[in-house]
């Protein structure tokens, strides 16, 4: 191999205006293949907006590149083969079966109304298995508990089989075991060379499971690096306005916010 490969995902000089105000302000970051990156920051800091802009769901200024290619120049279907998105408040409007919801993730890979290919079926099966949904696969996705529904929507994003997953608060609404299971899934994806950018409110999960963290404050990335670099008492105080307990466990660094400042 010669030369330096372009980073998997590169955002530079990104600004997003909502209601006449720059919610994201000339922001730049890169994501390397095979990493889990946590996007943290207080409410209203621009996490969801940043993810949506990265998917071209919002108009933006600046450039977003995937493997060196400007996303503005490729078709929506081609983009959907590179980036999967897991929205914050995922919904299922009609009572369709769990496995059919997961099959919707194959949309960019399918054409017309032809029956699913073997690759589609395999992708759906492994996504269902990964999210522990085999038992409920025939049930209506509207008749599930909140946590089960989150897993169905995550399985849908997995079935899309993209190199990059953008997940907006994927652990919200999950019990601790399923939160850990989801973060393990992310780690497994990273081992397979995939990249996950997930916004997280749980700083403990962010510290324990992410390779890198991006700390967002008022539309700008104020700190980026490992949990050790980003989750400092000073940063938490200035950005979140909280005091935190820091400790070490056998799983690594533990961060628990304990008081407002």
């Amino acid at each position: 191999m010669t030369g330096v490969a372009a980073p998997l995902f590169e955002v530079s000089g990104l600004s997003v205006a909502l209601g006449g105000r720059d919610v994201i302000d000339t922001l730049s970051y890169t994501l390397e293949a095979g990493t889990v990156v946590g996007l943290i920051g207080p409410n209203g800091s621009g996490k969801s907006t940043l993810l949506k802009a990265a998917l071209s769901l919002l108009p933006y200024r600046g450039s977003i590149r995937y493997s060196g290619q400007d996303l503005a120049g490729i078709t929506a279907t081609a983009r959907a083969k590179c980036l999967a998105y897991l929205p914050q408040d995922g919904e299922v409007i009609w009572p369709i079966a769990v496995e059919d919801v997961v099959m919707l993730g194959r949309a960019p890979h399918r054409s017309g109304l032809a029956p699913p290919s073997q690759a589609d079926v395999t992708a759906v099966e492994s996504a269902l298995a990964a999210m522990d949904l085999m038992e409920v696969r025939r049930r209506s996705a509207r008749m599930l508990s909140g946590g089960e529904r989150s897993r169905v929507l995550m399985a849908r994003a997995l079935a899309q089989q993209t190199p990059l997953l953008l997940a907006d608060e994927p652990t919200t609404g999950l019990d601790p075991a399923h939160q850990i299971a989801l973060m393990e899934t992310f780690r497994g994806m990273a081992r397979d060379g995939k990249t996950v950018l997930a916004s997280l409110h749980d700083l403990g999960l962010a510290a324990q499971w992410c390779d890198r963290l991006l700390l967002l404050h008022q539309g700008r990335i104020v700190l980026a690096g490992t949990a050790q670099d980003v989750l400092t008492p000073k940063a938490l105080e200035q950005v979140y306005g909280v005091e935190a307990y820091f400790g070490e466990s056998r799983a690594g660094r533990v961060v628990v916010p304990i008081a407002r400042i």
């Binding site: 949506k52 998917l55 769901l57 078709t75 929506a76 279907t77 081609a78 983009r79 959907a80 083969k81 980036l83 999967a84 998105y85 929205p87 995922g90 919904e91 299922v92 409007i93 009609w94 009572p95 369709i96 079966a97 059919d100 919801v101 919707l104 993730g105 949309a107 960019p108 399918r110 017309g112 109304l113 029956p115 209506s140 929507l153 849908r156 899309q160």
Partner: protein, 333 residues
């Protein structure tokens, strides 16, 4: 049986049902013709009375019944899928109200009595006007909500203008003609009506069929659908224009026929596993079957009184809809 096999079975059954009702529609009428005589007259080249009745009266009526029913069912399913609301129906965009206004103006001004095709043509003009106004009002990047609001505005305005025309009508006969037209009917339609409306309906069907997969993806919300590679602006344009072309043409030749576009998708939804894409084809067939059946019913129930189609569909449709709501409510608890 797999879900796909069940769906194919349903589609086959609906197709057979439409075929049977289509033939029944050809065979039932005041002239009381024999089965074999009527069917052979359909293909007869000479212009005897039976051939004229079959080719010029019953055949267009049956074709329009099937095509308009399919239009209402399909566009209803597409609107419900796109707006992700089971209460959406083809009339929501103001297309049928505006088409009605065009037709009413044709009757009011007397143009339709001089040139009979002026009525459907002006109705089509009304539909076109509505779709332009709705698209302008709702804007290029319209959310479903602004689309609904624009449709409601256009609908109300067209309704008010129709009332104004009725209000100003020169004599009670003109007013009566207008009211009767608005009740919806397939009586006395010719092959000219078929040739005028069918191309628009077919174009509309093709446009609506194109959004099938996008409607499935919209089940997971707009952001997810967009992230799956569907261009929502294009989807919306296809839904609006497809509905306008097909429902505009349907209203232009048959008047406003309510409830089919609302109820048929509702009834069929559980039978297709709630997939919006599968619901499109099923609702088209279901709509065709229901309208053909209703059009047979008005001829059988009151052969001499010219019972209007729109009256019958609303009379049967409304109680049925109430029952449906009641049933859904019970299932929710």
């Amino acid at each position: 049986m797999t879900e796909r096999a069940r769906f194919l079975l349903l589609m086959t059954m609906l197709t057979v049902l439409v075929g049977v009702l289509f033939v029944a529609s050809l065979l039932i009428g005041p002239a009381g013709l024999g089965v074999s005589a009527s069917l052979s007259a359909l293909f007869a080249a000479d212009g005897d009375v039976v051939a004229i009745v079959m080719q010029e009266i019953r055949l267009p009526r049956a074709i329009l019944g099937a095509a308009i029913g399919a239009t209402l069912g399909l566009s209803g399913a597409a609107m419900q899928g796109y707006l992700r609301n089971p209460l959406a129906e083809p009339g929501l965009l103001g297309i049928s109200a505006s088409a009605s206004l065009g037709a009413v103006l044709a009757i009011y001004t007397g143009v339709s009595s001089v040139f009979s095709l002026a009525l459907p043509l002006m109705a089509l003009g009304g539909a076109l006007f509505a779709v332009v106004v709705v698209r302008l009002l709702a804007g290029q990047n319209a959310t479903p909500l602004s689309l609904i609001l624009a449709g409601v505005a256009v609908s109300s305005l067209a309704g008010a203008l129709t009332s104004l025309v009725l209000n100003l009508s020169p004599n009670p006969f003109a007013a009566l003609e207008i009211v009767f037209w608005m009740l919806g009917s397939l009586k006395d339609r010719s092959m000219t009506h078929v040739w005028l409306s069918l191309p628009f309906m077919v174009v509309g069907w093709v446009m609506l069929a194109h959004v099938a997969r996008a409607l499935d993806a919209l089940t997971l919300g707009e952001a997810t659908a967009a992230s799956l590679g569907f261009r929502l602006n294009r989807v919306q344009a296809l839904v609006v224009l497809g509905t306008a072309a097909s429902v505009g043409a349907a209203t232009a030749v048959a008047g406003a026929i309510g409830f089919i576009g609302l109820i048929v998708p509702h009834v069929l939804r559980p039978l297709v596993g709630s997939h919006p894409s599968r619901l499109l084809g099923a609702s088209a067939l279901g709509g065709a079957a229901v309208l053909l059946a209703a059009d047979i019913a008005v001829r059988v129930i009151a052969p001499d009184r010219d019972l209007k189609l729109g009256v019958l569909t609303a009379l049967v449709g409304a109680p049925f809809f109430l029952w449906l709501i009641f049933k859904t409510r019970r299932e929710m608890i």
